[in-house]
C-alpha cells in the first residue's frame, strides 16, 4: 500500500469513526461494529504526500478486484416481443454506506452482445411504480449513463480476475458499465433503495440469462478511486428469472 493510499484510507477511517456506518451487507439492517471500508482501512497510518502505486498508474488507477457482498433485490430480463427487451434492476432497502467521499457509482450489467438502445441511460427511481420519483442524492438527480470508455479500460482488468467479474464470453451476453459521479450526502438517511429500468432491442434469438447460473448477476460498485489499494465495495444482485 502506498503512502497515499495509507493516508487516504486513514482519512476515510477517521471520518467513518465519526459517523459509524450501518450494516455493509444487504440483508442485515442492524448496525454492525464496523463497515467494510473501516475494516479495510484499519491500522493504516496517515502519510503526508499524495502518490499512486505503479500498478495503479499503469491501469489509469483502475482496481483489478472487488469486495462483493450479496444484496436483496435482483435483475429481471423481460422480453417484450419482436426483439424488444426490458431489464429491471432493483436494489432492496439496505443500509446507506455512508462513505464520506466523492466516488463513482458503477452498475455492471450484462446485456446481450450487439444489443441496441436509443438512450443508454438508467435513472434510478423510488416508490410505487406508478408514482415513482427520481432519486436526488447530494442535491443532484442520479442518472447512470453507459460508460463505454470505462468498459474499454476496466473490463479487461476486471473480467476473469479472481475477485473480479465473471467471464461471460460464452453466454451471448457481455458486461456493460453504467456510472455516475456521486458526492456523499449525509442527509440521505440511514437506508437507501432504488429501482431502474432499461429498454433495449436484441437479436430475436436472444434468451434471458439463466437465473440458475451464478455468473449471471449485476453488480453495484462503489469505486472510490482515492482509496486506491482497497478493492471497491460491490453488491451483487442475482438474476431473478426472465419472463418471455
Amino acid at each position: 500500500m502506498t503512502s497515499f493510499s495509507r493516508a487516504f484510507a486513514a482519512v476515510v477511517f477517521s471520518s467513518l469513526l465519526a459517523a459509524p456506518a450501518l450494516a455493509v451487507d444487504g440483508f442485515s439492517m442492524q448496525q454492525p461494529d464496523t463497515s467494510y471500508y473501516e475494516q479495510a482501512a484499519r491500522g493504516e497510518a496517515l502519510a503526508p504526500e499524495a502518490s499512486m502505486t505503479t500498478d495503479g498508474a499503469a491501469a489509469g488507477g483502475l482496481p483489478s478486484s472487488l469486495y462483493v457482498v450479496d444484496a436483496a433485490g435482483g435483475v429481471t430480463y423481460r422480453s417484450l416481443g419482436d426483439g424488444a427487451w426490458q431489464v429491471d434492476v432493483a436494489v432492496a432497502r439496505r443500509p446507506h454506506e455512508r462513505v464520506d467521499a466523492v466516488y463513482d457509482l458503477v452498475l455492471a450489467l450484462p446485456l446481450p452482445v450487439g444489443s441496441h438502445s436509443n438512450a443508454w441511460r438508467i435513472e434510478p427511481r423510488l416508490g410505487p411504480s406508478a408514482k415513482a420519483k427520481p432519486i436526488v442524492y447530494g442535491g443532484e438527480r442520479v442518472v447512470l449513463k453507459r460508460n463505454v470508455p470505462l468498459e474499454s479500460a476496466w473490463l479487461p482488468v476486471l473480467v476473469g480476475a479472481s475477485e473480479g467479474l465473471p467471464d461471460l464470453s460464452r453466454s451471448g451476453y457481455a458486461w456493460t458499465l453504467w456510472d455516475a459521479i456521486v458526492r456523499y450526502d449525509a442527509s440521505a438517511g440511514a437506508t437507501l433503495e432504488a429501482f431502474g429500468t432499461f429498454g433495449y432491442s436484441a437479436d430475436a434469438r436472444v434468451v434471458a440469462p439463466d437465473a440458475e447460473n451464478p455468473d449471471n448477476a449485476a453488480y453495484v460498485i462503489t469505486w472510490i478511486p482515492t482509496l486506491e489499494a482497497v478493492p471497491p465495495f460491490a453488491i451483487r444482485l442475482d438474476v431473478v428469472g426472465g419472463k418471455e
Binding site: 499524495a50 466523492v102 449513463k145
Partner: protein, 497 residues
C-alpha cells in the same frame, strides 16, 4: 545623492504595481536618462542604474514577501540573488547609455530602447535568469487601448516604445519645433491601432468556456486530508457552472490532486463522462520512463474516456518549483535552499476540441508562469490555436502576483489577437477577448464559477509572424550600430580634441 536614479526607480516600480498607475512608465526613465547624459563617470552611472534597478525590481517583486512557498530561507535567498542580478542588468543599461552619451547624447537616447529591450529579453531566457516578469510593457496591459501595438511588435516592441517615449521627452528640449512635432507624431502612431478600424476580424464562431475557481489555500492543497473536500468543491462549483451547455470546463493549475500515472486517470475520465463535457485541469504527472522528475501538466479529460496531457509547464519557477538542474541548484538543494521537484516540460501543440455541429476548435493551453513567456503563446497561435487557456495557481505566491499574471494574460491576448481564458485557483479568473478587454471575471479570493462565451480568433496578427526574436534583434542591432559609431569619432569631435 543620486536622486534622479532613485526617483526613476520609484516611479517605474509604482507603474509596475497592480494599480492603475501603469502610464507612469512613459515618464519613469526621464530623471535617470537626464542624469546619465551628464554622468560624471561611468562607475557612477553604473551605480545609479543599480540603485534604480534595486528600487524598481525590489518593489516590483515585493509579492515575494506575500508568498508562502518553498521552505525556510529558500525564497528569501532567491530574492536577494535575483535582485542583485537584475539590478546589475539595470546598471549595465545605465552604463551603456552613459558611455554612448559621452560621444552624443541624442545617439545615446536613440540607443536606449534597444539596450533596454536587449537586457529585458536576455534576463527572460533560460540561459540567463529565466525571470520574465516586470517587463515595462506589462505595466500598460490594464489599459488595452494603449497597447494594441503589441499585435505588431509584441511585448518587447512595446517596452522599446515606452523607453523611446521617455528618451524623446529628454531629447525634446534640444529639438526644433518641427522635429519635436514629428517625433511626437511618430511615437503616437502605435496608439492609432486602438481605432476600431484596426480591430481584429470578428469571428462568428464562439466557444463557451466554464471556469472553476475553487480558492483553496496553499496549505490545504495536495495533502491527503483535504483531497476529498477539495475535489468535492471543484465538482460543486462545476455543477453550478453547467446550468447551460458549455464546450469546455477548465479547472486551475494542479487542481486534480491525484497523481497522474502513465496511463492517465480513469476517474478523471469518468468525471468528464459524467459531466458530458470535456474538462481541462492541471495535474502533476509522475516521472515517465527515463525521467527523474515530475511534470506540472494540463490534462484534457474527454468524453470518450481519454486523459491525454495537453500541456507541460516548460518553465517551472526556479527554486521553489523547478527540480535542481545545475551544479549551483544542486548545491542549494543540499543546503535546503532549493525545494523544487518539477522538471522542465516540452512545449505542446494545441488540443483539438470536438464540437457538436461545428468544426473542431484548436485551443492552446499554458500552465501558469509559461504565459509569461510570449514565445510559447505565439507558437500555439502559429500552430492554429484560436483560443488560449492559461491555468494558474497563485495561492502560494499571493494576490499581488496573481494580479500581475492577469496582466500578462491580457497582453498575450493582444499580441496574438486571440481570446484568453485565465483560470486561477484564487483568481482573478478572466475571460479576455482578442483585444485584451476583460469580458467577464470571477472575484478574486473566493470560490466561484461561471461560463461565458468568447469569439474565436480570426486571422493571426503580424506579431505572430514576426516574433520576439526579430523585434529584439532589430532594436538591439540599432543600439549596437550606434555603439559601434562610438568608436569612430566625428570630425567635430576630432577637431575639438
Amino acid at each position: 545623492m543620486p536622486v534622479a536614479a532613485l526617483l526613476s526607480g520609484a516611479v517605474l516600480a509604482v507603474a509596475s504595481l497592480p494599480a492603475p498607475c501603469g502610464p507612469l512608465v512613459f515618464v519613469g526613465f526621464v530623471p535617470l536618462l537626464r542624469s546619465l547624459l551628464r554622468a560624471r563617470s561611468l562607475p557612477l552611472a553604473f551605480r545609479d542604474g543599480c540603485l534604480a534597478g534595486a528600487l524598481f525590481f525590489g518593489i516590483g517583486y515585493g509579492w515575494v514577501f506575500q508568498a508562502e512557498l518553498g521552505s525556510g530561507l529558500a525564497l528569501a535567498v532567491a530574492f536577494v540573488l535575483a535582485l542583485s542580478l537584475l539590478s546589475a542588468c539595470f546598471g549595465a543599461f545605465a552604463l551603456a547609455v552613459a558611455w554612448l552619451a559621452r560621444r552624443s547624447p541624442p545617439l545615446a537616447l536613440l540607443a536606449a530602447p534597444g539596450l533596454w529591450v536587449g537586457i529585458e529579453f536576455a534576463r527572460s531566457q533560460e540561459w540567463l535568469l529565466a525571470v520574465p516578469w516586470n517587463h515595462l510593457g506589462y505595466a500598460l496591459a490594464d489599459q488595452p487601448s494603449l497597447v494594441q501595438g503589441a499585435s505588431l511588435v509584441g511585448l518587447y516592441g512595446l517596452s522599446a516604445w515606452i523607453v523611446a517615449v521617455n528618451a524623446a521627452l529628454v531629447l525634446a528640449p534640444r529639438l526644433s519645433v518641427p522635429l519635436r512635432s514629428g517625433l511626437a507624431l511618430l511615437l503616437a502612431t502605435p496608439l492609432a491601432l486602438a481605432h476600431p478600424a484596426f480591430a481584429p476580424d470578428a469571428a462568428e464562431e464562439a466557444l463557451v468556456v466554464a471556469a472553476v475557481q475553487p480558492a483553496i489555500e496553499e496549505r490545504e492543497r495536495h495533502i491527503a486530508e483535504r483531497l476529498q473536500p477539495n475535489l468535492r468543491r471543484l465538482l460543486d462549483l462545476t455543477a453550478s457552472a453547467l446550468a447551460a451547455p458549455v464546450d469546455l470546463v477548465v479547472w486551475p493549475e494542479s487542481a486534480w490532486e491525484r497523481a497522474l500515472g502513465t496511463a492517465g486517470d480513469a476517474f478523471l475520465a469518468a468525471i468528464a463522462h459524467d459531466l458530458d463535457t470535456p474538462l481541462v485541469t492541471g495535474a502533476w504527472r509522475m516521472p515517465a520512463a527515463g525521467q527523474s522528475s515530475w511534470r506540472n501538466t494540463a490534462v484534457l479529460a474527454t468524453r470518450d474516456g481519454r486523459t491525454p496531457v495537453v500541456a507541460e509547464k516548460v518553465h517551472p519557477v526556479p527554486v521553489y518549483e523547478r527540480a535542481p538542474d545545475g551544479p549551483a541548484a544542486r548545491l542549494l538543494a543540499r543546503a535546503g535552499l532549493w525545494s523544487g521537484q518539477f522538471g522542465r516540460g516540452e512545449a505542446g501543440a494545441p488540443l483539438v476540441l470536438p464540437r457538436a455541429g461545428a468544426a473542431p476548435a484548436p485551443i492552446g493551453v499554458l500552465v501558469c508562469v509559461d504565459a509569461s513567456h510570449p514565445e510559447l503563446a505565439r507558437a500555439l497561435r502559429l500552430a492554429g490555436a484560436r483560443l488560449l487557456v492559461t491555468i494558474a495557481n497563485e495561492a502560494g505566491s499571493g494576490a499581488w502576483s496573481a494580479a500581475l499574471n492577469a496582466r500578462v494574460a491580457r497582453l498575450r491576448a493582444i499580441e496574438n489577437r486571440m481570446p484568453v481564458v485565465r483560470v486561477a485557483n484564487t483568481g482573478p479568473t478572466l475571460w479576455i477577448d482578442a483585444r485584451g478587454r476583460v469580458v467577464a471575471a470571477l472575484p478574486a479570493g473566493e470560490p466561484a464559477s461561471a461560463a461565458h462565451a468568447l469569439s474565436l480568433a480570426g486571422a493571426a496578427p503580424p506579431y505572430a509572424g514576426i516574433g520576439d526574436g526579430a523585434v529584439v534583434a532589430a532594436c538591439f542591432a540599432t543600439a549596437l550600430a550606434i555603439a559601434a559609431a562610438r568608436f569612430f569619432p566625428s570630425r567635430k569631435e576630432s577637431s575639438d580634441d
